[in-house]
Symmetry: C2
Subunit: 209 residues, 2 copies
DNA sequence: GACTGTGAAGCCATTCACAGCT
DNA sequence: AGCTGTGAATGGCTTCACAGTC
């Protein structure tokens, strides 16, 4: 359990810093200041320093941060220095896209299987990952000790998928169905609503006009 | 220009309320209280009332809100009572999934075309929507007065796509590439980072353990 | 009696400004 | 001299509590 209360927004930013540090590493940059990081990710140097300070002292006064070390620290903080077993439920367009999404693999997420209840899809592969029947979801989660489940089914089936996952002992759920779901508090839960993001844009367009 | 400063989080919630009200409407419910809405979307009644109060008085004291009226008001507030012309750039897995995503059509977003620079894809259709060559993006945005652009290309091409969109006079951009992009302040901009969401989950898993 | 609308209070996140190292 | 780390100040969002209305 963490000592201090850390804003969730800070975690989101750490994740972005890490991606930026990856770029710097690739370009051979060895040292970076909070000012440069801030410019690279569009926020303030004070914010960068504060976010990092929640977790320790990673820099050198008068100098800055070592790119490689800092990135390793952040990766550890985010829990990405271990393997995470993931299943995706729903082999429709979105589920297929998520299954093949490179950003997940790059960050070490291991997608073991995709589940669907369409018998025509079961048995096929999506980018090397097998499609299994939804009836075997619970059993699979238990047997493989899957920690993370991604929901990519139509809204009306989302709650029942979540219930199966929870019952099977999953630890975290990422939901893409546009519906509010109930998930017990011992399971980590986040929801990504694609249409909401567009609607924030249109709101701003009409409001600032 | 809006008089009061409205928290962006409130807009996100309005969008969720609207989706919940759609459900109620479908079920024939005519009146709803802030308590019921709060239960339906997992937040507090006070929050619901405050969010609505930013925009007017939509309820009746002692009674509640008329479901249909309230939803119409929210839809108007979010700018969804008009047609929005949208283009998607990138006909890969994610771009294809977004193109066919029902949640966009349901909320009135009109996706006119998908752009890609793969000559094998150009000329094909995705769910009835044509794939056009990226070289024609700027011209298309101008000719059709496209207001919203969705970026679903690999990270390294994202900035150049955005630059073309901005130059062509687009009003808002939704980015799915995992990279920080620079967009002039007169263009509305939001970024959805799929991996970040998973990383917040894994952080919480390791932090609360 | 029930439920909305809202000023005020409380809380949390961000920004400031400077002390502390190198 | 330069840049980090951090307590203090600020600003903004959420919650409280109650007056207002049906």
């Amino acid at each position: 359990m963490k000592a201090l209360k850390i804003p969730e927004a800070a975690i989101v930013r750490l994740s972005v810093y890490s991606r930026y540090l990856n770029q710097l590493e690739k370009n051979g940059v060895t040292t970076v200041s909070s000012i440069e990081i801030a410019e690279g990710v569009n926020n303030s140097p004070a914010q960068v320093r504060k976010d990092l300070a929640y977790f320790g002292e990673f820099g050198t006064r008068g100098v800055g941060y070592n790119v490689k070390d800092l990135n390793r620290h952040i990766i550890k903080i985010l829990g990405l220095d271990m393997e995470w077993k993931v299943v995706i439920v729903g082999a429709g367009n979105l589920g297929s896209a998520l299954t093949q999404y490179k950003g997940f693999h790059e960050r070490g997420f291991n997608i073991l299987a995709v589940f669907d209840n369409d018998v025509n899809k079961v048995g096929l592969m999506i980018g090397g990952i097998p499609i299994l029947p939804s009836t075997r979801l619970a059993e699979f989660i238990k047997r493989e000790s899957v920690q993370v489940g991604i929901v990519a089914v139509p809204a009306k089936y989302a709650q029942e998928v979540v219930d199966v996952m929870v019952e099977a002992g999953i630890k975290a759920i990422l939901n893409f169905a546009p519906r509010v779901l109930s998930v017990p508090s011992h399971v980590e839960y986040r929801s990504v609503d694609l249409a909401v993001n567009l609607e924030v844009l249109t709101f701003n367009l009409v409001a600032n006009k």
